[in-house]
C-alpha cells in the first residue's frame, strides 16, 4: 500500500467535483421541502437531466446547451409531479416514487442510442495567473462553471430564505399552508414554482454526472445519488450551508475511499464503499441535534376549502 500516491490538492479538487451532483439535487429539494412538498422523485429527475443533458450536448456539441436542456428536462418531469400532487391532490410519497421509476425507465429509452459515446468536454475555468497558483489554483480556480454555479445557488437560496420577503413567504407556505392561504398567498402557485426549481436543480445535477463526472451515458447511472440528496436535506436540518457541508463530506469520503482502494489499503472494499454513506449520516445526525424541525406542512396535501 502506498499512501503517498494520494495527492491532497487533487483530492480536494476532485471531491468538489464528486459532490456537485448531490449538492445541486439537494439544494433544489431543500427549496421544495421548505415550501412544504416532499418530492421523492429526485432520482428520477436527475436521471432525466442526465440523459437529456447528454443527448443535447452530443447533438449540438455544446455542453452549455446540454446543461440548459438538463435543467429544462428536470423541470418538465417535475411538472408531472406538480400535476399529480398539486392538481390531482395525489399522495406525495407515492407520486414521488412513481416519478423516480418513470424517470429511470424513460431515460433508458431515450438513452439507447447514446451508450458508448463521449460527450463534448465541458470547459474549465482558466484564469491566467490565478489558475496556475500552487495549491489554491487547482482547488479554487480551475473548475467548470457549473460547479461555481452550484455554490452560487446555495448562497442564493440561503440569502433568499433568510433575508427576503419571497423567502419568508415560501417558508410560511411550508410551515402552515392553511394560514398562508388565509392571508391571501397563492399556496399552489408558490409550490409549483418551488417544485420546478427543484426539478431544474436535480436535472443540472444529473447532467453534471453524465457530462463532467463520468462523461458518458449508461442506464441508471445516477446510482442512488438522488436518494442521498434527499437524506442529506433531512440530516442537514433544511439549512443550505449544512447541505453544502454534507455534500462535500460525502464527496470527500467517496474520493478518499476510491483513492484508498487504488492505493490497496487492507480494508475490504465493501467497507470502503459504504463509508461515505455512514460517515455523512453520522456527522449530520450529530449536527442536527439542535432540533430544528421539518417544515410543519411537509408532505401534507393542501386543499383550499371554501
Amino acid at each position: 500500500m502506498d499512501l503517498t500516491s494520494i495527492n491532497p490538492v487533487l483530492l480536494v479538487a476532485s471531491l468538489m467535483v464528486a459532490a456537485t451532483p448531490i449538492l445541486l439535487a439537494a439544494i433544489g429539494e431543500l427549496v421544495v421541502e421548505k415550501a412544504g412538498v416532499l418530492n421523492l422523485g429526485v432520482e428520477g429527475m436527475m436521471i432525466i437531466g442526465a440523459v437529456s443533458g447528454f443527448a443535447i450536448a452530443v447533438e449540438t456539441g455544446s455542453p452549455l446547451l446540454g446543461f440548459i436542456a438538463a435543467a429544462v428536462g428536470g423541470a418538465l418531469l417535475s411538472l408531472l409531479f406538480v400535476f399529480l400532487t398539486q392538481v390531482a391532490l395525489a399522495n406525495q410519497v407515492a407520486s414521488g416514487l412513481a416519478l423516480t421509476l418513470f424517470g429511470l425507465g424513460f431515460s433508458a429509452l431515450i438513452g439507447q442510442s447514446y451508450v458508448g459515446i463521449r460527450p463534448p468536454a465541458t470547459g474549465q475555468l482558466n484564469i491566467p495567473f490565478l489558475s496556475e497558483l500552487d495549491v489554491v489554483g487547482p482547488i479554487l480556480f480551475s473548475h467548470d462553471l457549473v460547479l461555481y454555479l452550484s455554490i452560487a445557488i446555495v448562497a442564493a437560496v440561503w440569502y433568499m430564505l433568510k433575508f427576503t420577503r419571497a423567502g419568508l413567504i415560501l417558508r410560511a407556505v411550508g410551515e402552515n399552508h392553511d394560514a398562508a392561504h388565509a392571508l391571501g398567498y397563492k399556496v399552489v402557485r408558490i409550490r409549483i414554482m418551488a417544485i420546478m426549481f427543484g426539478g431544474a436543480c436535480a436535472g443540472l445535477g444529473g447532467a453534471y454526472i453524465s457530462l463532467v463526472r463520468v462523461p458518458q451515458w449508461t442506464e441508471g447511472m445516477t446510482a442512488g445519488i438522488g436518494w442521498i440528496a434527499l437524506a442529506l436535506v433531512v440530516f442537514a436540518s433544511w439549512k443550505p450551508w449544512r447541505v453544502l457541508l454534507g455534500a462535500y463530506l460525502f464527496g470527500g469520503v467517496t474520493v478518499v475511499q476510491l483513492n484508498l482502494q487504488a492505493a490497496g489499503v487492507a480494508i475490504p472494499v465493501e467497507y470502503l464503499a459504504m463509508s461515505p454513506y455512514l460517515i455523512t449520516i453520522i456527522v449530520l445526525v450529530i449536527l442536527s441535534k439542535d432540533k430544528s424541525s421539518a417544515p410543519a406542512s411537509l408532505g401534507r396535501i393542501f386543499h383550499a376549502s371554501h
Binding site: R165, L168, E175, A182, S293, A296
Partner: protein, 505 residues
C-alpha cells in the same frame, strides 16, 4: 343619517347542497362594536369570509362608506382597511413574531423598523410582545396578541374578530376588552363573532343574529337578556340542564402525588397532582389550554402509564393498566381532539363505535368482531344523542364537528361508565346540543357515576360541576366547592395564585 362604514345588502352564498347565507343584510356603523351571533353552521364564517375577500358572494353587494366594495382577495380587503383575527390562529409556529406580522402586511418595513413598531404599538394597547420570540413558544393569549397587533399595524377601519375569547383566561379577556374599547374610542369599528352571550352584552353596541344562513333579528345587547338572545339564535326556548339533587358515594377514583413528564416534546409535565372523585360527583377541571389537560387525560385513560399506586380506582391500583383494561373496569375517557384521538377520521361510525365499545358492549368474542351488534350500538348512539348523519356507515370525518362530538361523547356515556373522564365535552358544539350533552353528563352522575370534566369553558364547568379545580403549568389546585366560586377566584386559580385558599380560610 350618516352612512354606515360597511353595509351588507342581500348577500347570498350557496354551496352544493346547502345555502350558507341567504339574503343577509345589515349595517356596521363607524366606531361601533357589532356582534354577529349564531350557532355553528349558521353561516357566520361564510359571511365574514365574504367581507374579507376569501369567498365571493353569489348575489348581493357590500358598500364600504357608500361605495361598492367587492374584494377579490384578502389583500384587496386589507388594502381597504378590513382586518381579521382568525378563530383558529393563522400563525406560523416556526417563525418569530415579527416575521409572522410581516407576512400579514402588504408592504412591510425593514425587519428592524418593524420590530420597533411592534414594541410601540403593542405597549400602546396594553398587549406587550417581544418581536423576536418564536411563535411556537407563546401561550394562546400571546398568540392572539400577535394576530391583533398584525391587524392594528395596518390601521384598520373594521376589525373582524372570530371567537376571540375562547382561549383566554377571564383576566386576559378583560385586557382584550380594554383594548377593543380603546380601539372603538379611536373610531375603529369591530365586528365581533361569538356565542358567549354575556360577553356580547358587556362589549357590543349592536347585535345581528344569524340562523340557518338568514338574518333572524337584530338587537341592542345591553337591553336584551342573554336568554332572549339565545332564543333568537336557536329559534326555540333553550333548555338549561337540570341538576337533580344527588348523593355522593365513596371515592371512585384517586390520584395521589402524581408527577409524570409529558409524552410529547412541547407538552406540560404533571407535577404533584392530587385528585379524588366520589361516586355521583362531577369534578370540573379548568385551566387555559396547554397547562397539562392532555397529559392528565392520558394518565387517567391509561395512555400514559404511571406507578401502580399513583392512580387508584375503587381502592385498586390501576396505574400500570392500559386503556382496554381500564375500560373493562369501567373507567372510560373521551379525549378532546375529535379527529385523530377520540375518533379515527377515515373509519365509519360503526368501526369507531367498535373501537372503544368492544370491551364493555361485548362486541367481540374470542378475537372475532360482531359487526352487526357494533352497528346496532352505533345506531343507538346516533338516535339517543341526535347525531345528524345519514347512517352509521359514514366516515367519522364526514360529520360536522358538533355532530361528531355528540357521537364520541354519546359513545362513552352509553357504555355505562363507573368513572367518565371527558375533555372539552362541548367544544365547537352549538348551544342546544351543548345543553343536551351537559344534561347527559349530569344524568350520568345522578346515576352514580363519577365524572371528571376537563374544560376551558368556565360557564360550562360552573353549570355542571360539584367541585372545581384548575390546572396551571401541570399543577392542579386544591379542589373547591363549585357553588359560590366567583369568576375572579377561578381566574386566580387558573393564573396560579395557589396561596389563595390559605388566605381565605
Amino acid at each position: 343619517m350618516t352612512t354606515p362604514l360597511l353595509s351588507l345588502q342581500g348577500l347570498t352564498k350557496a354551496y352544493p347542497g346547502v345555502i350558507a347565507n341567504n339574503n343577509v343584510s345589515f349595517d356596521i356603523g363607524e366606531g361601533e362594536v357589532h356582534a354577529l351571533l349564531g350557532e355553528n353552521g349558521a353561516g357566520k364564517s361564510t359571511l365574514v369570509k365574504m367581507i374579507y375577500g376569501l369567498v365571493k358572494p353569489d348575489s348581493g353587494q357590500m358598500l364600504l362608506k357608500g361605495e361598492v366594495f367587492a374584494p377579490v382577495e384578502p389583500r384587496a380587503a386589507r388594502a381597504d382597511g378590513i382586518a381579521m383575527v382568525f378563530q383558529h390562529f393563522s400563525l406560523f409556529d416556526a417563525l418569530n413574531v415579527a416575521e409572522n406580522i410581516a407576512l400579514g402586511m402588504e408592504d412591510p418595513p425593514d425587519m428592524r423598523d418593524l420590530a420597533a413598531k411592534i414594541r410601540e404599538v403593542s405597549e400602546n394597547y396594553g398587549l406587550p410582545l417581544d418581536p423576536y420570540r418564536t411563535v411556537g413558544d407563546l401561550s394562546a393569549g400571546e398568540r392572539q396578541r400577535v394576530e391583533i397587533i398584525r391587524c392594528l399595524l395596518q390601521d384598520p377601519k373594521l376589525l373582524i374578530m372570530d371567537e376571540p375569547t375562547s382561549v383566554l383566561t377571564p383576566q386576559e379577556v378583560d385586557i382584550l376588552f380594554e383594548t377593543l374599547l380603546k380601539l372603538r374610542s379611536e373610531g375603529t369599528s369591530i365586528l365581533y363573532i361569538s356565542h358567549k352571550l354575556e360577553e356580547i352584552r358587556t362589549l357590543c353596541d349592536h347585535a345581528t343574529v344569524l340562523r340557518l344562513g338568514e338574518n333572524v333579528g337584530e338587537c341592542t345587547p345591553a337591553d336584551t337578556t342573554a336568554s332572549e338572545m339565545a332564543e333568537l339564535m336557536v329559534g326555540s326556548e333553550l333548555k338549561t340542564p337540570e341538576r337533580a339533587a344527588r348523593e355522593m358515594g365513596e371515592v371512585a377514583l384517586d390520584i395521589s402525588g402524581l408527577s409524570v413528564p409529558s409524552p410529547s416534546e412541547f407538552g406540560t409535565a404533571l407535577r404533584n397532582v392530587h385528585l379524588t372523585v366520589r361516586k355521583g360527583e362531577i369534578l370540573g377541571v379548568g385551566g387555559v389550554a396547554g397547562n397539562g389537560q392532555d397529559e392528565l387525560l392520558g394518565v387517567l385513560s391509561g395512555e400514559t402509564l404511571t406507578e401502580a399506586d399513583a392512580v387508584k380506582m375503587d381502592g385498586q391500583p390501576i396505574g400500570r393498566l392500559g386503556p382496554t383494561e381500564r375500560r373493562r373496569l369501567g373507567l372510560l375517557t373521551a379525549p378532546e381532539e375529535r379527529l385523530g384521538h377520540a375518533a379515527a377520521p377515515d373509519m365509519s361510525l360503526t368501526e369507531n363505535a367498535m373501537l372503544t365499545g368492544s370491551v364493555r358492549e361485548g362486541l367481540e368474542s374470542r378475537g372475532f368482531l360482531k359487526w352487526g351488534e357494533a352497528a346496532a350500538f352505533a345506531e343507538r348512539i346516533i338516535e339517543v344523542f341526535d347525531v345528524r348523519t345519514p347512517g352509521p356507515e359514514n366516515a367519522a370525518r364526514s360529520l360536522s364537528g358538533g355532530n361528531l362530538q355528540k357521537f364520541v361523547v354519546g359513545r362513552e356515556v352509553l357504555q355505562r361508565p363507573e368513572v367518565l373522564v371527558i375533555n372539552q365535552p362541548t367544544w365547537g358544539v352549538d348551544a342546544s346540543a351543548a345543553s343536551s350533552i351537559r344534561q347527559a353528563i349530569l344524568d350520568l352522575a345522578t346515576g352514580g357515576a363519577a365524572v371528571i370534566c376537563i374544560s376551558q369553558d368556565l360557564d360550562e364547568l360552573m353549570e355542571i360541576s360539584d367541585s372545581f379545580a384548575a390546572l396551571n403549568e401541570g399543577r392542579l389546585s386544591a379542589p373547591r366547592d363549585a357553588s359560590g366560586l366567583t369568576v375572579e377566584e377561578i381566574g386566580l386559580m387558573m393564573g396560579g395564585a395557589h396561596g389563595m385558599e390559605v388566605a381565605h380560610v
